[in-house]
């Protein structure tokens, strides 16, 4: 079974600065998918970024980028130029590619990010 670990329960960053959220995972598979989801107080989970394990290039989406270290099983999220609207819980998630069509997600416990004005 896969596990996802987010060891930092909460972080705080000044508006316009850069913050990195950590995530490690454990799996015996060689190919899989990793995600970062954002959950604001409204509860709606929103996909931030997605990484395919067989791609060496780190995924980037505007101000969001990842540092994917496959050997270390590490998948951190960097948020540049932090904005007040980035305040939310962030979840790291894993999806297997060997479970057939089932792409169920395994989530970490999440990290609460607060952006200070």
């Amino acid at each position: 079974a896969q596990t996802v670990t987010q060891s930092q329960p909460e972080m705080s960053v000044q508006e316009a600065e850069t913050v990195t959220l950590s995530c490690t995972y454990d799996t015996s598979e060689n190919n899989y998918y990793l995600f970062w989801y954002k959950q604001p107080p409204s509860r709606q989970m929103i996909l931030v970024i997605r990484q395919e394990a067989y791609k060496q290039q780190n995924a980037t989406e505007n101000r969001f980028s990842v540092n994917f270290q496959k050997a270390a099983k590490s998948f951190s999220l960097k948020i540049s130029d932090s904005q007040l609207g980035d305040t939310a819980m962030y979840f790291c998630a894993f999806a297997s590619s060997t479970g057939g069509a089932n792409s169920k997600l395994t989530f970490g416990k999440g990290i609460t990010l607060s952006v200070r004005p």
Binding site: Q6, A93, G100, L105, G108
Partner: protein
């Protein structure tokens, strides 16, 4: 276009009662997932539908929990004889298809269930 919707947004019930939680996925999405999120935790997988059939129900905690998707669109999660430990936010997600390639899941706002 419309996203995933869930009703009700909040549900308060008494221990031992029966509840139904509804999920309307994005139109055309064939895959549908239910997750449960307890306070301070990440969502945990409950059940996955491909079309009308439950392809994986390994996450359902016990036989009090049941879900259906009779026409391959709307899904209902049913909880019998509710217990206080069932209190959580129940999230529904859908994806265009499920092909084992990390298809993006789109989440609804969830139903917060409180069992008194």
């Amino acid at each position: 276009g419309a996203g995933v919707s869930q009703t009700p947004s909040n549900k308060v019930t008494e221990k031992g009662k029966y509840v139904e939680l509804r999920c309307d996925p994005i139109s055309g999405h064939t895959a549908l997932y239910w997750y449960r999120q307890s306070l301070g935790q990440g969502p945990e997988f409950l059940i996955y539908f491909q079309g009308t059939g439950a392809a994986d129900d390994s996450g359902l905690p016990n036989d009090r929990f049941f879900a259906v998707r009779p026409e391959g669109s709307v899904s209902t999660l049913k909880i019998q004889r509710t217990e206080r430990g069932d209190s959580a936010v129940y999230l529904c997600a859908s994806s265009l298809r499920a092909d084992g390639r990390g298809e993006t899941q789109y989440f609804g706002p969830g139903t917060r269930l409180l069992v008194l």
